[in-house]
């Protein structure tokens, strides 16, 4: 129930940003839209154990943005370089994160890392496509996993 309420409030705030009007008929449409959005969200993404707190996500935001800056710069450099330095390949990162929410959050966060793009979940881990196979991507991914696990204590398999 609290999950539903939290989501309802967030969608309501979203509606007010999109449609900043306090006229009763605007609010009525907003209420219907927000109820529908909450219902769909609960159906498609039911609250599970180890849900991610809003605060935890906000704590990851500055890093997320910074990484997206570095990643953009890195790929821009390669695209403009006359010789186009690329050594693409696939690497498999063995993760200890639980499948589902924790792992999906990890792939989404790391999809913005410079030079790496998650493209498959296998039994051995997550397969990444990388722009330069010689870079220390596995070490970097391990650091990111540690950071995520720090704000998401239930994310990892208990050993």
């Amino acid at each position: 129930m609290t999950h539903a309420l939290t989501r309802f409030v967030l969608f309501a705030l979203l509606w007010l940003v999109l449609m900043p009007s306090l006229l009763w008929y605007d609010l009525l449409i907003g209420l219907l839209a927000v109820l529908a959005a909450t219902w769909v969200s609960l159906r498609l993404l039911p609250p599970t154990r180890g849900s991610i707190g809003l605060l935890a996500l906000l704590m990851l935001m500055p890093r997320f943005v910074w990484q997206s800056v570095m990643a953009g710069w890195e790929v821009a450099w390669r695209a403009f370089h006359p010789k186009m330095p690329l050594a693409p390949g696939f690497i498999t990162y063995p993760t200890a994160l639980e499948p589902g929410l924790a792992r999906n959050t990890f792939t989404t966060l790391t999809s913005l890392l410079p030079g790496s793009l998650p493209c498959e979940h296998t039994r051995d881990g997550i397969v990444y496509h990388v722009l330069d196979i010689h870079q220390a991507h596995l070490e970097q991914l391990a650091r990111e996993e540690q950071r995520l696990a720090d704000v998401l204590p239930t994310a990892r398999h208990t050993p």
């Binding site: 900043p20 790929v75 821009a76 186009m84 690329l86 913005l112 793009l117 496509h129």
Partner: protein, 97 residues
Amino acid sequence: MSLLLNLWTILAVSLGVFFFLAGTLGLLRFPDVFTRLHALTKADNLGLGLVVLGLLPQMNSIHAMLKLLLIWLLVLFSGAIVSQMLAQAARSGEIDS
């Protein structure tokens, strides 16, 4: 003050355009689906972010600023998710790589 803000807008939007150009260049030059996905998602995310940051001081209400930031976040997250799905489709052979 408004001169400074205008300078900021010009600087940030121009930088944003540079990254959009880089993304497009990567799309044209890079050899396969995967490397092109890198170029499009990463460079364009940053380009859009800079354009949004540059336009913020030109908005006349907090509400319009929030809307701009919301657009950026939406594109950021959908880019992050869609790129994974396309990469997955390319790897499993559903689309030609």
